[in-house]
């Protein structure tokens, strides 16, 4: 079971990506829990996350989030802009899982 957290400014556009990722996970038979939240909500949702992915439009908060989350053992990364723009759930999911496994 992987815990994936997507963060953008309002949690809106990433929530669409979540549904696409969940569908891809189901097709591949992978057990995941994926959630999308707005940046301001992060402080209430930061426990037990394997990987935190930022929407590219908020990549400027990467240093702050890294400092906060990496001490908790969470991997922090920015979603590839093309995968994000085309809402490619499968690619984002597979990339996230390979990052967790290679940790």
């Amino acid at each position: 079971m992987y815990n994936i957290l997507l963060v953008c400014s309002g949690g809106m556009s990433t929530s669409l990506l979540v549904t696409k990722m969940e569908k891809s996970a189901k097709d591949q038979g992978i057990e995941v829990s994926i959630k999308a939240i707005g940046e301001a909500d992060l402080k209430n949702n930061s426990e037990n996350i394997d990987i935190l992915l930022l929407g590219p439009q908020v990549k400027y908060i990467l240093p702050r989030i890294k400092e906060k989350m990496e001490s908790k053992g969470t991997i922090v990364d920015v979603i590839n802009t093309v995968d994000y723009g085309t809402m490619n759930g499968e690619k984002v999911l597979n990339h996230a899982i390979s990052m967790i496994q290679n940790k």
């Binding site: 301001a40 439009q57 400027y60 085309t86």
Partner: protein, 426 residues
């Protein structure tokens, strides 16, 4: 153009990123986010009062409910923000946020005079608590919290003699920092008083907030603000998000002033408000990208990838979400779309300003969720009243204007691709 973009990427983006991550600005933004539910509640009450409860006489008796909701939300906006901003800031330092918020609210009251005009002693005028006090409130919240956090982190606490349980000592941890913060503002009040001023609020309102708000009501600064958001976006940064604390500080008081005027049956004083931009400019998201999507459907015959992204993005665009267009086309770092993307919000602001200032459409005074679709947002923001259909029409006119701005650039991009395929097939 390419050289300009790479220059901006080197010089502008790091600065923008720094602003977007700046701790105090983030705290202000999160503080505003936290009070949004109440702002929407107050606005809803105002709309009900001026529509349904007005049209159906039998429901007229319910109007006091709306008034009280307004009194407990929009009318005390600064008070709410003082707490939430202080809370967010302290939380970012990982210091007791609740204690900091309480200290900030206390400190804010410590800057206010204890009597008001003819009312005599013991009255706090509501102008100190509504959005007209916003700048003072933000300043006090940030400074009080900084004092509190710095002293807590320096471990300036009361040392208990041996034998006193350690838990008792910890309970006193916030005492000296909290006292120092509120005493600072008590002292400040005395100093301003001795210098002949009335209060910190009056000083800041007269010297900072009023001039800035006057400036922000100019059509030039509104156009600049709208275009600046898109400049950030051109480099892949969420402009609306980064500029949110500034937009809220300048244009939320304007919205609140309009709401207060309408609440009292007067004419709304401001043309440009926080929701003015969401209603008429960000049609389908920053840069009126819904118009861009439509322009692609009309003009991009050969660019299949453009049409694919447009198809994927259209349902999102209806609800003002446009990340998929921004990164999918992409609009970000796209020299071809840079010019229309920056020009469009400026032109749309100008049109909406002229239409509102001339009285063609009613002024905006209702806070709306930013996901409200094109036209519906404008209809609600102007109070869903008798003239609001004209506001909805203005939003649609603006959408059409934006389509015409984007269309030639889309056709140009389309032609480029057909030339490329021709040369490669030769």
């Amino acid at each position: 153009m390419n050289r300009f973009i790479s220059f901006m990427e080197r010089k502008f983006v790091p600065v923008a990123a720094k602003i977007g991550g700046q701790r105090h600005l983030v705290a202000i933004r999160d503080g505003f986010v936290a009070i949004m539910a109440l702002i929407l509640a107050g606005s809803t009450g105002l709309v009900l009062k001026n529509t349904l409860f007005k049209w159906i006489p039998a429901l007229g008796g319910l109007i006091p409910i709306c008034d009280q909701v307004w009194w407990g939300s929009l009318a005390i906006m600064t008070l709410l923000v003082v707490f939430t901003v202080s809370y967010s800031l302290a939380k970012s330092y990982e210091v007791d946020a609740l204690a900091a918020g309480i200290v900030a609210v206390g400190s804010y009251f410590a800057t206010l005079p204890q009597s008001y005009g003819d009312a005599g002693w013991g009255f706090v005028h509501w102008q100190y608590l509504n959005a007209t006090g916003l700048f003072t409130g933000l300043l006090v919240a940030l400074i009080a919290t900084e004092i509190f956090v710095k002293l807590v982190k320096k471990d300036v606490t009361i040392k208990m003699p041996e034998g006193v349980p350690p838990a008792v000592g910890r309970a006193f941890a916030a005492v000296i920092p909290g006292m120092t913060a509120i005493f600072t503002f008590g002292i400040l009040f005395l100093i301003i008083n001795k210098l002949g001023g009335n209060s910190l609020y009056d000083v800041i309102y007269q010297t900072v907030q009023k001039p800035l708000q006057g400036l922000s009501q100019g059509v030039g600064s509104a156009m600049l603000a709208a275009m600046l958001i898109n400049l950030f976006w051109s480099f892949g940064l969420h402009g609306a998000n980064i500029l949110d604390p500034i937009m809220n500080a300048l244009y939320l008081p304007a919205l609140e002033a309009n709401a207060a005027a309408i609440q009292q049956g007067l004419a709304a004083p401001n043309v440009i408000t926080r929701v003015f931009f969401d209603s008429y400019i960000h049609l389908g998201g920053s840069g009126a990208t819904l118009a861009l999507i439509i322009a692609i459907f009309i003009g991009a015959k050969k660019r299949k990838e453009y049409r694919e992204v447009a198809k994927l993005s259209a349902p999102l665009g209806l609800f003002q979400i446009n990340e998929s267009v921004m990164f999918g086309l992409p609009v970000v770092l796209n020299p071809m779309l840079f010019i229309p993307f920056i020009i469009t919000p400026g032109v749309l602001t100008l049109i909406a300003y002229l239409a509102t200032a001339s009285g063609l459409v009613p002024p905006t005074y209702v806070a709306i969720p930013w996901i409200s679709p094109v036209g519906i947002g404008a209809f609600l923001a102007t109070g869903a009243g008798s003239g609001s259909w004209r506001a909805a029409l203005l939003a649609i006119v603006n959408l059409v204007v934006a389509i015409f701005i984007y269309l030639p650039f889309i056709k140009l991009a389309d032609r480029q691709v057909s030339k490329k395929t021709e040369t490669s097939s030769k």
